[in-house]
Symmetry: C2
Subunit: 298 residues, 2 copies
């Protein structure tokens, strides 16, 4: 490619920028970033890109636009670029929730323009361009969304693009995507946030210093519960229906767990604990986590 | 010390064995272990200890006995050693729940014998003597339980013992202990088990292959949900009352979270997410986790 534009250069955007530059995928990489503090960081880090505000000039010559902003920014941003877009430019995003955002995109985007959505399953609890790494997507899944109206050519190019970045690509529709990730990602984040909230409420209530004893389990949740609040608010609002269903299923199971503890149901409780243990092995076998105790951190 | 007996040589017992040997705390370390497979592993690893069955001969000469079995084994084990015990031997354990187990100990132990309970806040999702490490307790908290009837001299010796092992010691009563750890450890484990259970239920129901996409959050929970099932069953049953209260508080908060998502209450939701983020910083400042994104695993 000759020209790629990354809109929003935080953790994901700057990791993509680094990955694209490292693999020489594009001659030029443009960055559109609204945060002044991020712009200063990008300059200080001397990331290999051109920071631009001149969308009118840049957009007609682009091969690829990648939205790396929170979902809530899409609408405003589309209205800024809409008039300059042409059908030859491939447009994608890296948002974590698809169905609702794609409806919005479809409504906002001018006729004849295609948007082919991506979701790289990679991230971190830290935000900002200073935390980006060129191998963030290496060996990670990237989901490409294919619907009835998807431009097959664009899909094919993006498939190649993510593979060059180092990702493994899976293709599915937005409905399936949002169902799967409501369970493997959105619910876990919400549960982590809720656990840390519950612990801090309890700390206030009991006037004990709890947090200093978090090494027994709480600390793991606190990492996920430190994720970017704007990104996650947007995900929770966007994938609302699936997440609410996931919460209900979680609460239903929690009541069953509670019943086992209340009635000291040895057999039922041990079965649950043994069954979940197997999932860890499966996750490691599928290379979704490292095969070292305690994440290798100690 | 001259002679220490470790009862139960799994992850914790064998880590203690290694730590005691490394720091030359005792001339001899005896191991009592009922699992034949563990005994074979200990021999193969050439751990610096004497494996024994002859409790009658060993116990009268011990300075310290450390119970490292699951809580559910205490009763049986006490009845095996009770008649050989004398008041000069310090007895401790490393159990994660205290109030109920200490009542049982008090009821079972013959008169004039003291038991001074410890809880090192250290562990892993892996079990067995092959996973033990000499620095498992280094810079970790160890809680010592002090009640009205606690032997002050034994408490003092144990305080020194854990500090030699490398731990930081905090002293509190069993009630406070069980309240704190119901929130910082027991609830997080239960929630992790429940999340993985919910995801596998959902996988079966939807017939999607979910687990392969666990890198978005689920994988973190799967680590904790791979912890030893017998140990955790015993903790859930032993600290039943506190855990049930913690579950209720968690569910109450989860309903509030759900309400924020349902009503798209931006302000309330973002406040929750921002507040929990601060806890991560606190945990790192308190050295309860490592200061690297993603636990440094990627």
């Amino acid at each position: 490619m000759k020209n790629i534009l990354i809109i929003g250069c935080g953790l994901i955007g700057s990791s993509l920028l680094r990955a694209i530059a490292d693999r020489k995928i594009s001659k030029k990489i443009f960055i559109y970033e609204k945060s002044k503090s991020n712009i200063l960081k990008i300059k200080k880090l001397r990331l290999p890109c051109t920071i631009t505000n001149d969308l009118k000039k840049i957009i007609p010559n682009l091969d690829l636009i990648i939205f790396c902003t929170p979902l809530g920014e899409y609408e405003k941003m589309i209205s800024k670029i809409n008039k300059y877009l042409s059908s030859k430019t491939i447009i994608t995003d890296v948002g974590s929730s698809k169905k609702k955002s794609m409806q919005l995109i479809k409504n906002k985007l001018k006729k004849g323009i295609y948007w082919t959505s991506s979701h790289p399953i990679a991230g971190s609890e830290v935000s900002g361009p200073e935390h980006g790494v060129k191998n963030l997507f290496l060996n990670k899944w990237c989901i490409l969304i294919k619907e009835k109206n998807t431009n097959k050519k664009h899909l094919k190019v993006l498939n190649k693009f993510w593979k060059k970045i180092g990702s493994r690509v899976a293709v599915m529709d937005s409905k399936k995507h949002d169902t799967i990730f409501s369970m493997t990602s959105h619910l876990p984040h919400l549960i982590a946030y809720n656990l840390v909230k519950t612990a801090t409420d309890f700390e206030k209530q009991k006037k004990y210093n709890l947090i200093k004893f978090s090494a027994g389990g709480l600390r793991d949740f606190s990492r996920i519960a430190a994720s970017n609040e704007i990104m996650w608010r947007d995900v929770f609002f966007n994938n609302q229906t699936n997440i609410l269903k996931a919460i209900d299923l979680f609460i239903k199971n929690l009541h069953l767990f509670k019943r086992d503890i209340q009635s000291k149901n040895n057999k039922s409780l041990v079965k649950k604990l043994v069954d979940t243990k197997k999932v860890r092995k499966k996750i490691i076998k599928l290379k979704q986590d490292i095969n070292r105790p305690d994440f290798g951190r100690s």
